[in-house]
């Protein structure tokens, strides 16, 4: 079992034009920065990206949008990105906006081997158009299908060479659900350790879901909205 790759370039080597990718993170928190940089360098095009947000103009998936590598975005919230809005309004970019819980749970369904979920989110709205509605106990639910992604790319705080992952604080977000959902899942970690160094009771993503892992470099970990208390301690 050899899951360890040397770097992001090797990890994404067989991601091809036209593929569907899941990218973990919430805003700029917990982004797989190294893999995004490698995809920008490689110039892979016509990608469908499933990610809660689309980054900002000069960070995260925004870097891929700027290079016109993305054909379609599937997200729940895409504010804070002027280039994205320009491509969307001009029709250059195909965008599917779906409720955040639906996005997360469609990932979860893929990782749990379930073809679909039922959720009340979007009932009575344009999100429901064309979808099957089922009534359970007097309430309507939309049927939403599990995602089918060629690759999931996630970022964790620590991982071991077996692929077991631990996330830090709210950087867990979509990373933990997307890690379970890719046909091939790539994990980049801030610290790669040997088996036995992580407490089995503290693993968030079991290594069985991870196919490739590497220790990332030069994490910027940019803050999108820096808010502080006025008083000093």
């Amino acid at each position: 079992m050899n899951k360890v790759v040397s770097d992001a370039d090797e990890a994404i080597r067989d991601i091809e034009d036209g593929m569907t990718l899941m990218l973990g993170g919430f805003g700029l928190c917990g982004l797989p920065e190294n893999c995004i940089a490698a995809l920008v360098k490689k110039g892979t095009k016509e990608l469908t990206c499933i990610s809660n947000n689309a980054g900002v103009d000069d960070f995260g998936i925004g870097l891929m949008l700027k290079q016109r590598q993305v054909k379609k975005m599937i997200s729940s919230y895409v504010g804070e990105n002027a280039e994205f809005e320009r491509q969307l309004l001009s029709g250059e970019l195909d965008v599917e906006l779906i409720p955040q819980g639906t996005l997360a749970t469609r990932c979860m369904a893929a990782g749990y081997g379930m073809p679909a979920i039922f959720t009340p989110a979007g009932i009575g709205t344009e999100v429901a158009i064309g979808k099957e509605v089922r009534n359970f106990n007097g309430k309507d639910y939309l049927m939403e299908l599990a995602f089918d992604a060629d690759f999931a790319i996630v970022k964790a705080w620590k991982g071991d060479t077996m692929g077991n992952l631990v996330y830090k604080a709210t950087a867990r977000n979509f990373n933990a659900v997307m890690a379970m959902a890719g046909k091939i899942t790539i994990a980049e970690v801030e610290e790669l350790v040997e088996p036995g160094e992580l407490d089995p009771d503290h693993i968030h993503t079991p290594g069985i879901y991870i196919h490739r892992i590497f220790q990332g470099v030069n994490y910027e970990k940019r803050i999108e909205q820096r808010t502080v208390r006025k008083n000093v301690r």
Partner: protein, 218 residues
């Protein structure tokens, strides 16, 4: 007339001891500043945190600790972290007692629109559709009229909907109103210095006024 802080202060009075509360972006975020000190409340942030605390002191910001508005925050003692699927799991399973969010429009039957202006603004619904579809106790915090002076309390929403028949209570700079199960905005309280007529003039939807309407105490 209330300012944004005033609206937040009035909403804070709706929060009860033991509540788990989800606060949306904007005025709802301010509510956290006015939760009475004598009650225990846990704030849920749908990016995966229970136990959200105040903003960090300068120099103590952590890029890995943010709220759903992507702001740097702190975690209080007793906090719990979880992934996005579990976060919406607890919302869908009605474990969150109160949801407070902003709106562009609310209709007299409790429909809400707050995520899209066709041709103008496309930011997405984020977690709002999940929250309004599942929460049993939804308070909307918003201005009574929009920038063009038009009422945001309508017979029927004109913008794309976020959810249907879900809003229970509205707090604006002018008034506190309940959305009745059979339809209609029932006027409960007036903002300081605001007359019932002023509220009538600012409300396009069906306004129900019974007896004397007290001025709110904040």
């Amino acid at each position: 007339m209330l300012d944004k802080e005033g609206i937040a202060k009035r909403i804070a009075k709706e929060i009860k001891d033991g509540y788990y509360v989800n606060l949306g972006i904007g005025i709802p975020t301010l509510v956290a500043n006015y939760i009475p000190a004598n009650i225990d409340v846990v704030l849920q942030s749908e990016n995966g945190l229970l136990g959200m605390g105040p903003f960090p002191f300068e120099g103590e910001e952590d890029a890995d600790v943010i709220n759903a508005g992507k702001q740097t925050i702190t975690m209080l003692p007793g906090s719990a972290i979880f992934d996005s699927a579990m976060s919406f799991g607890m919302i869908r399973a009605k474990k969150v007692n109160l949801t407070i969010l902003g709106a562009m429009e609310v209709s007299e039957n409790g429909d809400i629109a707050n995520w899209k202006i066709p041709g103008k603004m496309v930011k997405g619904m984020g977690g709002a559709m999940d929250l309004v579809a599942s929460a049993e106790n939804i308070i909307v915090a918003m201005q009574h009229v929009n920038k063009a002076g038009e009422s945001k309390l309508l017979p029927k929403c004109t913008l794309p909907l976020t959810g249907v028949n879900c809003v229970k209570k509205i707090v604006t700079e002018l008034a506190v109103l309940d959305v009745l199960p059979d339809g209609g905005f029932k006027l409960l309280e007036r903002a300081p210095g605001i007359s019932v007529d002023e509220i009538k003039n600012a409300t396009a939807g069906k306004l129900i006024i019974e007896g004397d309407i007290p001025e709110m105490i904040i």
